[in-house]
């Protein structure tokens, strides 16, 4: 089988890349191994992620499917105090910030909707598992897949997109480097879904709530429909092990004890999903593009879930990847050593910006709040609105980077002096 672009993985990154490419008239093949919609974590979407869905013409369907509408995020400080609200905003270069809303989603439904929409727009769908990339020297020329019945087939492509998420297909196959642990690698997340839960009244009922206990120890509360709420806690792995509890016991106790405001919101806890856990979720692979291939979303980097940027990166990088692939096909020579180098630089700029935001939040919580509320409130709202790809970084981002650099230098100096003693 031959195609212009083959995409491995039918999650938001893969389906969005496929839909953006389908608009350009290229032949696109989307390869997904799961037979039916599957459970996935990462349910709260950012404002700009909502705008990606609008760009794809999916707003009406999001409304029909009654995904809870999200107007913002409330973050509760330790002991339920000092809550602050981050409104959902959009941003356009021509017109600046504007009010908007986004959604939180049950990922099995949402991912299925995107996948079905891609198929309806002329994307070829192959139900199979990616086995290995087809290589020609340092170029990727396609992918070998195995259908559920065991039949193996080679799909030849001009461009192969890895949208396999945390499965990191290219990295595992040795096409790109190995995963390097990220800053939040020693964290675990334990999560499930509950019935009920006290939400904010009225239109604010679909908002995401974040509860902070202390550094690297927090919980989320994300409405998935009228009845069910996604709840989870993120803690240091050592802390989790020290408790010596089952995941179920651990989550029950943490939801009760982590923050009094969360306790108030969950008077009874009835899990309607299995209690699950993940660890080692923070990683990156630095060079993720080359001749005939590129990665989108979690297949090359995941930082930390605290600000819900996961699906945003998948869909935003899908948009950039599709544009980059379209100009590759428009170029008759196609002789560049890496036709997707610019795409990679743009992705890095966005992810690095969010990394600074998250590092400042965890490492320098007082400074973060002072910068976000007093010195650069607009810049921080802009960044949360998805303005993280700027060539000239916003002053608020420069300030956070300076503080993070100072902290890193101090930690290095401290470790060096420690090793000398």
């Amino acid at each position: 089988m031959k195609t212009d672009v083959a995409i491995i993985g039918g999650g938001p990154g893969g389906s969005a890349t496929a839909m953006f490419l389908a608009q350009t008239g290229l032949r696109v093949t989307l390869i997904e191994k799961a037979q039916s919609p599957r459970y996935h974590i990462g349910e709260s979407l950012t404002g700009e992620c909502g705008n990606c869905l609008r760009t794809l013409g999916l707003e009406a369907e999001m409304t029909t499917r009654r995904h809870p509408v999200k107007y913002g995020v409330t973050v509760y400080g330790p002991r339920g105090k000092n809550a602050f609200f981050v409104p959902v905003k959009g941003w356009r270069r021509e017109s600046g910030l504007f009010d908007t809303h986004t959604w939180s989603v049950r990922r099995s439904d949402f991912d299925h909707m995107l996948f079905a929409a891609a198929a309806a727009r002329g994307v070829g769908v192959v139900q199979a598992e990616g086995v290995a990339p087809l290589l020609n020297g340092d170029a990727v020329r396609g992918v070998r897949v195995r259908a559920n019945g065991g039949t193996v087939e080679d799909i030849a492509s001009e461009v192969l997109v890895d949208a396999s998420g945390p499965a990191t297909f290219f990295s595992n196959a040795g096409v790109i480097g190995e995963k390097v642990r990220g800053s939040y690698d020693r964290q675990v997340a334990i999560f499930s879904q509950v019935l009920g839960g006290i939400r904010d009244p009225g239109a604010a009922g679909g908002n995401t709530l974040i509860f902070y206990r202390q550094k690297h120890h927090w919980a989320w509360f994300i409405p998935l429909d009228d009845q069910v709420t996604s709840v989870g806690v993120v803690v240091p792995a050592d802390y989790y092990r020290s408790k010596n509890e089952s995941k179920h016991q651990f989550l029950l106790r943490e939801l009760d004890q982590l923050n009094p405001e969360l306790t108030r919101r969950l008077p009874q806890i009835e899990f309607v999903e299995e209690v699950r856990g993940i660890s080692n979720y923070s990683y990156r692979i630095s060079n993720f593009t080359g001749k005939g291939f590129l990665c989108v979303g979690d297949s090359h980097r995941f930082i930390d879930p605290v600000f819900s940027f996961g699906v945003f990166f998948a869909m935003k990088e899908a948009e950039y990847a599709a544009a980059s692939i379209a100009s590759f096909f428009a170029d008759s020579k196609r002789e560049q050593p890496n036709p997707f180098a610019d795409y990679q630089r743009v992705c890095d700029r966005g992810q690095d910006s969010v990394q600074e935001l998250i590092d400042a939040f965890w490492q320098h919580p007082y400074a973060f709040k002072l910068l976000a509320h007093h010195r650069y409130p607009e810049d921080v709202i802009h960044m949360f609105a998805g303005r993280v790809y700027e060539e000239t970084p916003l002053p608020g981002l420069v300030a956070m980077r300076a503080i993070n650099d100072k902290g890193r230098n101090q930690r290095v100096a401290h470790e060096c002096s420690g090793s000398l003693n």
């Binding site: 320098h364 007082y366 300030a399 503080i403 902290g407």
Partner: protein, 96 residues
């Protein structure tokens, strides 16, 4: 060797800051911290992310220094002693 007027200025910094913190703990109902007891609420002190900003504005105006973005790190606000040391170093930067 610290000059007499510098020493006097420093004594004054400590006094002014202590008065300021005294007003805050009067509201939170906490005892007045000693020079080395924690100021920040993450360590049980009275300064949280809400009243830290007024403190910074006060310090800038009262002592004529500029608290730069990279000075906002919590180590400068951990204790009264750390805060005095920070103000002293900003002051000597200005006057050296």
């Amino acid at each position: 060797m610290i000059r007499a007027e510098t020493r006097e200025w420093l004594m004054n910094v400590q006094e002014v800051l202590t008065d300021y913190i005294r007003e805050i703990v009067a509201k939170t109902g906490q005892p007045l911290p000693t020079l080395d007891q924690p100021l920040l609420d993450s360590a049980g002190g009275a300064i949280d992310s809400m009243n830290m900003w007024p403190l910074i504005v006060f310090v800038e105006e009262r002592f004529g220094i500029k608290v730069e973005d990279t000075d906002l790190m919590q180590e400068n606000f951990r204790t009264l002693r750390a805060l005095i040391k920070f103000i002293e170093s900003k002051h000597s930067e200005l006057h050296s």
